[in-house]
Amino acid sequence: MRHYLHVFIQIWKRSAAHILEYRLNIFIQGAFILVYLVGMLMMLEIIFSNTQSLGGWSKSEVILLYGICGIMWGLIELVYFSSLMHFMMRGVSTGELDTILTKPLDAQFLTLFSYPAMMEFIYPFSSALFTGWVLLTQHYSFSLESVFTFFASIILTQILLLFLFSAYSSLAFFVTKSQQVLRTLETLGDHSQYPTIIYPQLLKLSLLSFLGVGLVGYIPTAFLLQKLPTLGLVPLFLGTCATVFTSRFIWKFSLRRYSSASS
């Protein structure tokens, strides 16, 4: 475990050193995030100029959901999403996976964490600042229980999504150009900043189950705002366990069928 942690830290140090070489890019990226945040807030403003609530959620609740969703997606993008994208684009088709398989570490671990998108740190960071500001200026009342379920759901959701996206990335073993699968989930993730409850039943179920993106902000925020009972953690826990085992099974099954593509 310590060895994996050490490798993880080394990868992050290398990535941080790389982005610090191009400091101007950090400012440009920061400007983009600012435009994005302001744009999406304006969108919420326009939505709530036409209605008092959205799926039973008030404006201040949706703003909180928006902030939490930004932190959650930001962390996903920062920690492992670009590694999975890299694997889907180059891992199997160019034989890069061979170099991973020869290393004395778990191949799925390296596939998940080899290329963190350090440049994306601005997104969760600014979202966290925004959420902090929202919590200070808006008057919410949270119980100790809701805060606990909120943090527990954040951890469970992040683990679930990590292994769910990893399972999808295994498609690279069978399809030459499969990166659009993750890109589709990323695009659908833009809608996770609205309460998932507003979508039709079938779409809602899909977003909350095999697509996973409906879980990102909605579930933790619903727990925090006490819109879901504490017992709601049980299906989330079971779903997370099932996803972890399925993902590991798919990964091992795909790896068994893999034959080197490089010369």
């Binding site: 191009y22 890019n25 440009i28 304006m42 100029s49 799926g55 150009k177 695009t187 809608h191 979508y199």
Partner: protein
């Protein structure tokens, strides 16, 4: 012209080679836009004002999904070609990089839009979400759509040209793209924006990229208004064309290929 025609054909063949990729890319943006329709239907359901018509919302976002690809495409491969020096292969040959990339992108966009038209229009007609257009209105819609793509390609091509000076320019391009997505009416109909913005947006390029074409497709604009909109877009297209021309002239003038 033959070489560019060949580029178009090869790009189409490439799309057909990777059908799963093409299908998912088409589904990806379509689903994303249609989810916005559900968002606004939820707003309409809970709204007390009666100015949100669910039928109009569905029709609007159907057209929005259809033309999304005309103004929203990624030119990151151009930036990569500049960064890695692959652009040299165009600079030393009697071809224009602008038209080579244009026809490459055009093939992808055309295929995407055509697939959506084939799938959506009959379904929307059957469900009564769209009305028939006159041949002249249809022709004007086609001209408008082509102009939208050309104008946006010029803009993105110009922005990608900044890669001659900066290591990563995708954030700049994404900034501009997001601004266009938001203000053009792809995400939200311009009619929901404050009235002051609706007034000034007539003089800005944004609404001509999505909102006005959708209005034309919905049959809400007569021929005179459509022609006016086309004239405005032609003006902006010239501006974007000269922007990319200026950037690429400046860049290629001082460009030294060092090989990789």
């Amino acid at each position: 012209m033959k070489k560019y025609w060949l580029t178009l054909k090869i790009s189409l063949q490439d799309l057909l080679e990777y059908r799963f990729d093409f299908l998912l890319r088409t589904v990806r943006y379509t689903t994303s836009i249609l989810m916005l329709a559900f968002l606004w239907l939820a707003v309409a359901h809970e709204s007390t004002s009666s100015n949100i018509d669910p039928k109009n919302i569905i029709s609007y976002y159907l057209f929005s999904a259809m033309i999304y690809g005309l103004s929203n495409f990624h030119t990151d491969h151009i930036e990569e070609d500049v960064r890695l020096g692959y652009i040299s292969k165009y600079l030393v040959k009697p071809v224009s990089p602008f038209w080579m990339y244009f026809f490459n992108m055009f093939a992808q966009t055309l295929a995407e839009v055509l697939v959506k038209i084939v799938l959506f229009i009959p379904a929307a007609l059957l469900l009564g979400y769209v009305t028939f257009l006159s041949p002249v209105q249809f022709l004007l819609c086609v001209i408008m759509g082509t102009l939208v793509f050309f104008a946006m390609f010029c803009l993105y091509f110009g922005l990608s040209g900044l890669a001659f000076w900066f290591q990563y320019v995708d954030s700049i391009r994404m900034c501009v793209m997001f601004t266009f997505r938001f203000l053009s009416g792809i995400f939200i109909s311009v009619s929901f924006f404050p009235s002051w913005y609706q007034f000034i947006s007539r003089f800005l390029p944004f609404e001509y990229m999505a909102y006005i074409p959708i209005q034309m497709m919905q049959g809400n604009l007569d021929i005179r208004q459509s022609l006016q909109a086309i004239c405005m877009l032609v003006g902006w297209t010239f501006l974007f064309y000269f922007f990319q021309y200026f950037i690429w002239q400046k860049a290629t003038h001082s460009y030294e290929s060092t090989g990789i």
